[in-house]
């Protein structure tokens, strides 16, 4: 019972904040609602026994990436009264695409005899008590089986840092240095 209360609460918060996020006029408000969505998604991770990912989501996404977004939004402040969605055709087109996509996915999910997800061939979901400690299992996997992608992710982040600094650096300073 605790599971369903938590899921519906935080799932509802996630979907509600996401809907609010895309409809706000002020991009700063959108960012704040994205923060709540990310926190709710983090809680869903926690419920699925992925506690390291819960913490990683909060530190990296909600406090790292969102601080970046907040800084940029504050720097490129445009008049918030500018209408954000000018073309009606675009809105209708978006809704059409989304409905088509959603309908397609739901058809695929429901086309089996069972409910979505219940047709999985796994006999049973691993009991929570028998799962290995999450951080240790994740670390072991990350440093042995997936160590190459791990190193590549590090290089990717380094390249991204260099690229972002180069892109955002002021033109005058670049000529000087």
């Amino acid at each position: 019972m605790l599971d369903s209360v938590l899921f519906y609460t935080f799932g509802g918060v996630a979907v509600l904040s996401a809907a609010l996020m895309i409809t706000r006029r002020d991009p700063l408000h959108s960012a704040v609602f994205l923060i709540t969505t990310l926190l709710a998604t983090g809680e869903i991770f926690l419920q699925l026994r992925a506690d390291f990912l819960f913490v990683a989501q909060i530190i990296l996404y909600a406090c790292g990436i969102m601080v970046l977004f907040l800084f940029v939004i504050m720097l490129v402040r445009v008049d918030a009264a500018v209408p954000q969605m000018r073309f009606r055709v675009q809105k209708l087109g978006a809704l059409a695409v989304v409905f088509a996509l959603g309908f397609e996915v739901l058809v695929i999910l429901f086309s089996a005899d069972k409910l979505p997800g219940e047709g999985l061939f796994v006999q049973e979901i691993a009991a929570a008590g028998k799962l290995p400690p999450n951080s240790e299992a994740l670390a072991r996997s990350l440093f042995t089986t997936y160590s190459l992608p791990f190193e590549m992710a590090g290089v990717l982040l380094l390249v991204a840092i260099v690229g972002a600094v180069v892109m955002a650096k002021s033109r005058n300073r670049m000529d000087e240095s």
Partner: protein
Amino acid sequence: MNAAFYPVRQFIQDWWLEFFSGVVILVAFPLVVAYVALVERKILADKQTGSGPLPLEPHRTLQPRAEGLRLFLKGDIVPPNADKLIFWLAPILSVVAALTSLGAIAFGPAVQVARDINVGILFVIAMGSLGFLGVILGGWASNCQNLNIGAMRGTAKLVSYEVGGGLAILSALLVSGTLNIRAIVEAQQRSGAWFIFLAPIGFLIYLVASIAQSKRIRFDLLEQRPEPVSGDKVEYVGFRWSLCFLAECANRIVVASIATTLFLGGWLRPFSNEPWFYWLDYLPPILIVLLGVCCIYRAGKQPVLAQSLWMWVLALVCLCVAGVFALPVAAVSLQFLLPGLHGAFWFLLKVGIFLYIFAWLRLSIPRYSFGQLMRVGWHILIPVAIANVFAIGIALFLEYEAGWNRWFAFGVMNFFPVALAAYLLRLHEKRAAGSSRTRAMATDSYAG
């Protein structure tokens, strides 16, 4: 009806202790914070000249309550052009972040609101870093350009020092091998040495980073001279201000608690492994009795009768508390209370030492400018922290794989981060001293 009620009752039965502890923290904490602020003013005054807030009621001990009441009743002023949602949200975010991180800290072996989180330390850090959002949104909400820039600088400082602090914590976690808070303290008990002796550089780095993070002393950028009165809190009045202040104080205590847990052995008494130091178990009640004796001694020196009486009352309270602490040591049947009660005492003593050091440093050292601050953080602290992680890793390898003696391995390997730190500091000083002529022409990418 009964069938629906049963799971609710089961839920309450399973989780009532956590809820109760959480409620106790929420209710007791503002009072604790107010008294910590009073104690800090007393410490500052003691270092400077006098005896701090003194007149009226005894040693101003009732002042925090009066101040709390005043803040609660003060009218709420919202700046006219402020962003209403964000103005409302920022202090709430700071307070929620700070108080949630308090929940995962273990004050004793059995005293922890959120028990046995497998990633306990990371959870505390994560919740602490949610407070950054409170800073940046708070600066924006006031719709004032100065405060906005101040808040952005403050957040930049917090993020930079979080990296350094995180790496320092990583070095201690390498030695302990687990993220669970209780298991970290137990690892220190098993290894017989607090991690400050095994990773002293990590401790020092974390100390610097935590002072920066809790917006204290040398690093309280947001309350500097150019900023109006209380920096990022200036637009908040009454209850909202008290929320901001509560968040800042809670952050300080959380940071001190993390340092205590990771480096100073949490709730362990000194030499907890050695059996012939058991007499240290008598130390808590003895210390409190000494405090009571001090109160009695000072009671005779008070100018006003009310203050003497108050000192006598305090002495009596101290003696009662000392009795409570002495009982489990003396009576064998109450031995089970010993780890919890004494553990909480040692933990709070260590956290108190940290808060005292924070207040002490506040007086002794002048402030940094923003450029210097960022330079220290990125050019000195982070390289030394990375070198420290490497050194601790190699020391652990030497101990476990190559079979060296633990103290020898750690002693040798700790030399390298120290050398790097000395080298970087020398570079920093040479650059600061020798470039005064070229400074006017060079572009300072961190300043402004």
